[in-house]
């Protein structure tokens, strides 16, 4: 058996027990590799449970910067006896198994094609620590220390990270460094290190930041000027309002009065959380809620009201596996249709599809502007994969010259000057009417907001022509939206090709890697990354310019493909489904295989030959 040899390109997976404090140790490990200048993309795999259940942390170390899940495991850190067999089975031939050898295991518990690295972690830990909680926490640091020698990560990188983390807490700093070295010393004295897989200093990280999408959204909402947030806890969105709260406490507390320039309410359910943000939006505050699929289902009546009565509101949907309670701790992109057409009657809504935490930040702030500009619900559609995992991405930026776009809000002065105010009247052809905020003017500009039909002056009306006028105007507004939303990003193949691919959101890193692999194989594909719905004209043009367009998405029913067919009237035969929906993040391997199967069926005929034939 030949051990896997690979520098700066491997997958290491930690099998832990939920609630054992392993999460921070694993993050420490990932950060240390980043400090070596080598990109890492970790993923948390966890059940819907608080304590005692298995959890995994799968980190892909990749100098080329591919951040998608790779698939396969080169090294397993098997800290959970419960999942031993499955964990062992997952290791690639020639891979490595790291385990706590305090208690001997029979040979039947190992594989002959896997290199075993035995470290008596419990023994080392218990010899030094007596307190059970300390034993648990420091055991984690000790295994990180052991791994650092095995994978050739410098000790000073860790020491620096500890120093940053425990600034002013000298005792904690010291004890962590001691534990780290206990692990390092054991390996140095007893084992052969480094392994065939290892880390070598590089410069591929640069000024990139390492952050999860939910934190980025919370921060984007602070920068974007959200003042009211209402929410109801649901995985995987809960850390969005939590991050918002954290950053508000940092940035939005008046230095003199200590009063808050924000209001956050944990509502009694999603009906109330959406109701609160709709009420706040109606009253002129920038407001958002964050939820996941089941919450969206509950919110739909209010979403329809917000669409029809034209009230700005931002809804963050961190998608998880559906339907129903589905796979609450797994990832999917399966709420596209339930959000795009949420609520009864003819409705359509704006969706944004950030690809990573950097865009989560941008889209959060953009959504608040769009909501005010379009006077409509705006959805930020992320998923568990982006939301709850730290990802290496471009640093956040903010232009200090940027002001908030509050849209068409008529002022007391304009009303006073006699400007005509028709709440639901299209005055300039973009479909967007003017609004007034409650309390603006003593006698002018008041109106009664309702979900029932009305004429352009907001007076109740069930007349057909009034209804049609309004519904057509809403369509015009939706067309306007297509130009205002983040535009699709085109990535052309180096050679002219009749193949195209459309993808979006968390699929992006896996897609880019797949495109590189296919390209290297001589398979040329033009790629269009969708950043929003509605689709601008460029999407139509892209599809028209290709014979076959793959639509890669993470759901069973090809929801994005349906939306493309539905909205653009394209020939469905042109759009080829590439669907991944088992709850794990899509991989480049999966996409490559799916596309290759179609482009080069069985015989693997090179594309050019086939086309010539």
């Amino acid at each position: 058996m030949k051990p896997i040899e690979s520098i700066n390109d491997f997958v290491i997976k930690f099998a832990n027990v939920n609630g054992s404090g392993s999460a921070s140790a694993n993050e420490l490990f990932a950060k240390a590799i980043l400090r070596m200048g080598v990109p890492v993309s970790p993923r948390n795999i966890f059940p819907s449970n608080i304590q005692g259940m298995p959890t995994w942390y799968e980190a892909r170390v990749c100098e080329d910067g591919y951040a998608g899940r790779r698939g396969g495991v080169d090294m397993m850190v098997a800290m959970n006896p419960q999942t031993w067999d499955a964990d062992l089975a997952e290791i690639e031939p020639g891979g490595y198994l790291f385990y706590d050898s305090t208690r001997p295991l029979p040979p039947s518990k190992f594989r002959s094609d896997v290199n075993v690295i035995a470290v008596p972690l419990t023994e080392i830990t218990n010899a030094v620590y007596t307190d059970p909680r300390q034993r648990q926490l420091f055991k984690n640091i000790i295994y990180v220390g052991a791994l650092s020698v095995l994978l050739d990560v410098d000790a000073d990188v860790f020491e620096k990270l500890f120093a940053e983390q425990y600034k002013g807490k000298e005792r904690l700093l010291e004890s962590n460094i001691r534990a780290l070295h206990m692990g390092r010393d054991y390996v140095k004295q007893n084992l052969k290190a480094p392994l065939g897989i290892r880390v070598k200093r590089s410069d591929q990280v640069g000024d990139k930041i390492f952050v999860d999408g939910n934190s980025a959204i919370g921060l984007g909402m602070v920068f974007g000027g959200a003042t009211v947030a209402a929410w109801y806890p649901i995985t995987p969105s809960t850390s969005v309002p939590e991050a918002f709260q954290k950053y508000c406490e940092k940035f939005r507390v008046d230095p003199v009065t200590r009063q808050h320039n924000f209001a956050i309410v944990q509502a009694e359910d999603e009906l109330a959380s959406i109701g609160m943000v709709v009420g706040a939006g109606w009253n002129g505050a920038r407001a958002f809620t964050a939820t996941s699929g089941p919450g969206i289902s509950l919110m739909t009546e209010f979403i329809g009201l917000s669409y029809f009565a034209e009230i700005p509101v931002t809804i963050v949907n961190v998608q998880r596996g559906g339907p129903s309670t589905g796979m609450p701790t797994r990832t999917q992109q399966s709420d596209l249709i339930s959000c795009a057409y949420a609520s009864h009657g003819d409705t359509k809504h704006v969706l944004l599809f950030p690809q990573d935490p950097h865009e989560c930040f941008e889209h959060a702030a953009a959504a608040l502007d769009l909501a005010d500009r379009l006077q409509a619900p705006i959805f930020v559609m992320t998923d568990l994969d982006i939301g709850m995992n730290q990802r290496l991405c471009k640093p956040f930026t903010w232009d200090d010259a940027r002001d908030y776009d509050r849209g068409k809000v008529m002022t007391a002065e304009e009303l006073e000057a006699g400007k005509d105010f028709g709440r639901y009247k299209d005055v300039d052809g973009d479909g967007i009417p003017w609004r007034t905020l409650p309390g603006t003017h003593p006698t002018k500009g008041s109106f009664f907001t309702r979900g029932t039909t009305r004429d352009p002056y907001a007076r109740y009306s069930e007349r057909g022509p009034d209804y049609i006028y309004n519904m057509e105007r809403l369509l015009r507004k939706f067309k306007t939206a297509a130009d205002l939303v983040p535009q699709p990003v085109l990535r052309n193949a180096p050679k002219k090709t009749s193949y195209g691919v459309i993808y979006f959101g968390s699929t992006t890193p896996a897609m880019h890697e797949a495109l590189d692999v296919l390209e290297a194989d001589g398979v040329h594909i033009d790629a269009l990354r969708l950043c929003a719905f509605p689709f601008p004209e460029s999407v139509n043009q892209f599809i028209a310019a290709h014979e076959k367009v793959f639509v890669v998405e993470q759901n069973r029913d090809a929801q994005m493909r349906s939306m493309l067919v539905n909205e653009l009237d394209v020939n469905p035969a042109q759009l080829v489904r590439v669907l991944h929906y088992d709850g794990t993040p899509i991989t480049a391997r999966f996409i490559t295989r799916a596309i290759r199967d179609i482009v080069q069926p069985a015989a693997a005929v090179p594309l050019r030959q086939k086309e010539a034939a």
Partner: protein
């Protein structure tokens, strides 16, 4: 199409109040409710109360759910912004609106179906949070707008127009409001304007969650014998515990009463509620006393009305959240955005 401009007749009694508005200025569109509907009397009482309080109409935001009762905000305070939300969810929309701008006065109008049936959860939670508002339920024991089905406040044993006897226990919104911490709780009757107007005034000026359950007969579906929400039944069983006079902070106190007859309660804004006790044993500042009094008397079939409980030093959700004294909806990029320098520091911490 129901938009009709009201004839603006000039009546000598249309005198302007302190902020320069006549009573007419507090009216809205012409009601489309059934003639004799209790809800219209409540609208008239709201108009009267706001006029007497010298509130500039545009400083009120009126929100409602869905139902005949929830339509009424269109029929008063035409110069205020109104929001007819969705069925049973006015409390959440009002909560959000209130958070966005604490400078307006919030009037929530709902029905018994809207608040006790579909919207019970939102009603209860808005009370718990102490959202500053005057929350009025126009309680007729039925769903008027969907033609007379029993609502959750219908008394057990009461008879529908079609002759069906209600077998479910009623939800007592007053009891729930008391239990969940509302700081101003009253019950009244749409047919008793003298009692109702000062109760609404007190609620509008209250510093926390004020709730008034107003029995408001539905003449079309629930005004027959066998109903416990008919005009006749309520008149026969009405037991007022007090009469209040509302004295705003700007008014001089003139009337004099014998000691012991009167409880004076000063609200946070300086306004005074003067309660003439009609029951010697009733203390309106004792929450638990109010709850047990209500239960004992309701068990005897009495409808206890009046200001049942008031906490003069009420606080509200803004106090709990420590929100700025300035309206959040008026803050701009300067107050809200930390700027690029702060972002650079965050970036640095994420490397």
């Amino acid at each position: 199409m129901t938009y009709i401009t009201k004839p603006r007749l000039h009546h000598p009694t249309l005198t302007a109040n302190k902020v320069g508005y006549t009573r007419r200025d507090y009216e809205g569109r012409i009601s489309t409710l059934c003639a004799g509907c209790g809800h219209d009397s409540i609208s008239a009482a709201i108009i009267q109360a706001c006029w007497e309080l010298d509130i500039a109409p545009h400083r009120v935001a009126k929100l409602s759910g869905i139902g005949c009762s929830s339509k009424t905000p269109d029929y008063f305070l035409g110069a205020s912004h109104g929001f007819n939300t969705v069925h049973g969810r006015m409390p959440s929309a009002l909560t959000g609106a209130n958070l966005a701008n604490r400078d307006l006065l919030y009037l929530g109008v709902s029905g018994d179906g809207d608040s006790a049936s579909i919207g019970l959860g939102q009603f209860a939670n808005a009370m718990r949070r102490g959202v500053r508002m005057a929350y009025i339920v126009e309680n007729n024991g039925v769903y008027g707008l969907t033609k007379g089905q029993f609502s959750a406040t219908a008394d057990r044993g009461s008879k529908s127009k079609k002759g069906v006897i209600n077998s479910d226990s009623p939800i007592d919104l007053v009891g729930i409001a008391l239990q969940l911490g509302a700081t101003y709780v009253a019950r009244s009757f749409s047919g008793d304007k003298e009692q109702l107007v000062p109760l609404i005034k007190g609620a509008m000026e209250h510093g926390g969650a004020a709730f008034i359950d107003i029995i408001s007969p539905c003449v079309t579906f629930n005004n027959h014998s066998g109903s416990t929400k008919s005009y006749d039944y309520v008149r026969e069983h009405n037991e007022a515990v007090s009469r209040i006079d509302f004295i705003s902070s700007r008014d001089e106190i003139t009337a004099m009463y014998a000691p012991g007859e009167v409880v004076e309660v000063q609200q946070h804004d300086g306004s005074m509620l003067r309660l003439r006790k009609l029951r010697a044993d009733y203390d309106p500042t004792d929450r638990y006393g109010a709850m047990s009094y209500m239960q004992a008397h309701q068990a005897r079939g009495e409808i206890v009305t009046g200001l049942l409980y008031v906490d003069p030093v009420a606080t509200d959700l803004h106090t709990s959240l420590n929100t700025s004294d300035h309206a959040l909806n008026a803050m701009g990029v300067a107050q809200l955005c930390p700027g690029s320098k702060a972002l650079d520091i965050i970036n640095r911490a994420l490397r």
